[in-house]
Amino acid sequence: MTTANRNASGNGDGEPILSVRDLRVWYGTAKGAAQAVDRVSLDIAPGEAVGLVGESGCGKSTLGRALMGLTPQSAAHDGKIIYRGQDVLAMTRRQRHALRGPEIGLIFQEPMTRLNPLMRIDDHFDETVRAHEPGLSRAEIKRRSLETLGHVGIPPTRFHQYPHEFSGGMRQRIMIALALVLKPKLLIADEPTTSLDVLVEAQILRLLKDLQTEFGTALLMITHNLGIVAEACDRMAVMYAGRVAEDGEVGSVFANPGHPYTRELLRSTISLSTKQLSHIPGSPPNLVTPPDGCRFHPRCPDAMQVCAQKVPVATHPRPGQRVYCWRHGPDDRIPDGGEQPLQQEFDHVDEA
């Protein structure tokens, strides 16, 4: 592993539980191949919480799914996803199936669509546990299920009820319990709180955080909400148009955003402390014909000539922080005159 790779995983203690190397997932559309994930590298250490942020259509969900070996049928993929020494993309279907659940758990945005309305909660647990641990006795399954449900705050009196008898937040708790009952080492949560109210959202985030600490589970939280990342994650990666723009410790990225996109995204986020509205001009590119060079350059206030020509390389402006932006060099890779500011012909038509 190169230094770059090692630095990519923030707290350098131990092997990462999951490393993504140069991953590309392009899927077919009517207009051509959409470069949903394009040469992404990322590490997740055991027990750490990583936030993956980006706007809709930046490829963060495609990446999350690819990590579990779930890519769209028409997609081509390339690169490596190493989970505890094994390449997920090179696995057989059967191996990948065995991975999902006991090793990597997944929590979706819409809990109701993932629960079978005709099955009681106990049946859901029964099915899930049996699929991966066929030898377990009924009593043992029940004990484990109730214990996990207790952790997420679902009373045992409701074990035999149907999904429709639960509220939205309760269903998400049940989904979390269903993922945790198999004791996965990595939990991927794809916008787990988007459809929930702010109080319930905070409850679920608190719950995920507590469970993550208690079980030592690594967590990849895919979200568009920077607030969630700030409060619930240790490290974060910012995606823009299929690529990672920046990653690093949450504290240092928020304090010193290295990539202009991260900085502008932080500035445009409306929070209780917002005094002045700010926004990023233009709108995200379509992934079929992304801009050359740095994909953010047409909207970037700091763009230089080189940004429109060459794809930026990884730089490490601070320990544990990786930034793909020519502003941070390396100078020897920038051609002569490349540092001249780019004349932006800003097209108002593309204003979102």
């Binding site: 140069d22 590309r24 899927y27 997609a75 690169g79 794809v311 390389v313 990884a314």
Partner: protein, 340 residues
């Protein structure tokens, strides 16, 4: 005051034109089996429509003609030959000519029947679905009763009732058939209207101050009418069979008013036992081919227009930099991204 350069405002297609564009777009984009099905259906149906239009020029004889212009009677039960390509019937009429003229009858009746049932089913379905309440319940009850009634029996009853009132057999048959199919249009349009009615853009139109009539015509109709082409084509196929059934039972087009395949089939029953195959086989083939053509057309349209069934047009994705080597071992370092 119009700006001086307002002339560049392009002429825009009207509502029908825009609807056509919404339908034709997906057809042009369609791929694979649905496209094949659609084109085969269109070809067969189109052929029969052309035959119907040009019947007087194609058919060598009249549909009821049993003798030459000179008054020489055709032989009965003549097997196919050069003078009578598909042979003659027990009444000495020319089978080929009757099939060609029959196509005209079928197409006329089907077009009229589709228009009639659309003219009733579409507005009634729209109103029923949009208004809801007791009106909807009553209409659904009536339509379900009609639907539950055996369709051939219903058509016979209507045809029987109308036969004394209307002189035209084509019109009578068309009305009888439309009564059978109105409930289907009604159901499709009503159910679709109910789902569209709940869309926020309908409430938005209310919030703009639109009258119900305006909402139905401008907001609901255009979103409901898309389901009609498919239902219409499939029903057209079905109504050929109903028309043939009516003719077979003697309640359809009277032999003096036009040629009709179902009637011909009925007359050919006795022939079959005597080894005279051509009087029955060819009208039968005609019915089967037109019904098949329309069904394929309908199914093809359904696959193409229904976004849930429509397979995404996807080309296999290739990475531009990976023509030859599949393994890609040396590219694990992010630093090399700049090369692409």
């Amino acid at each position: 005051m119009a700006a001086p350069d307002d002339s560049r405002v392009p002429r825009r297609p009207g509502l029908l034109g825009r609807q056509f564009r919404r339908v034709s777009g997906p057809i042009k984009e369609s791929r694979g089996l649905p496209r094949v099905v659609l084109w085969i259906g269109t070809a067969i149906t189109g052929m029969w429509v052309l035959v119907a239009i040009f019947a007087p020029w194609i058919a060598p004889y009249g549909y009821a003609q049993y003798q030459t212009a000179a008054g020489e009677r055709f032989p009965k039960h003549l097997p196919p030959n050069m003078d009578h390509l598909l042979g003659t019937t027990v009444q000495s009429t020319d089978v080929f000519s009757r099939i060609i003229w029959g196509a005209r009858t079928e197409v006329e009746v089907v077009i009229l029947a589709v228009l009639f049932s659309l003219a009733i089913g579409l507005p009634v379905g729209l109103i029923s679905g949009f208004k809801g309440g007791w009106l909807d319940r009553v209409l659904v009850l009536i339509m379900d009763a009609l639907f539950a009634f055996p369709y051939l029996l219903l058509a016979i009853v209507i045809a029987f009732l109308l036969s004394d009132v209307l002189a035209s057999g084509v019109l009578t048959a068309a009305i009888a058939i439309s009564v059978v199919y109105v409930p289907q249009y009604f159901r499709v349009v009503r159910n679709h209207t109910i789902s569209v009615r709940e869309e926020p853009f309908v409430e938005a139109a209310r919030a703009m101050g639109a009258r119900p009539r305006w909402i139905v015509t401008k907001y609901v109709f255009a979103n409901v009418v898309q389901s009609v082409p498919v239902v219409a084509t499939l029903n057209a196929a079905d109504s050929i069979l109903t028309l043939a059934g009516l003719g077979f039972l003697g309640y359809g087009i009277q032999p003096t008013q036009g040629a009709e395949w179902g009637y011909d089939l009925q007359r050919a029953i006795a022939d079959a036992g005597a080894g005279i195959w051509w009087t029955g086989l060819f009208p039968g083939i005609a019915i089967v081919s037109l019904v098949t053509g329309l069904t394929l057309l309908g199914e093809g349209l359904n696959d193409v227009l229904n976004p849930l069934l429509r397979p995404r047009r996807t080309e296999p994705v290739k990475f531009p930099d990976k023509q030859d080597d599949g393994a890609e071992t040396g590219r694990t370092q992010p630093e090399q991204r700049g090369k692409s």
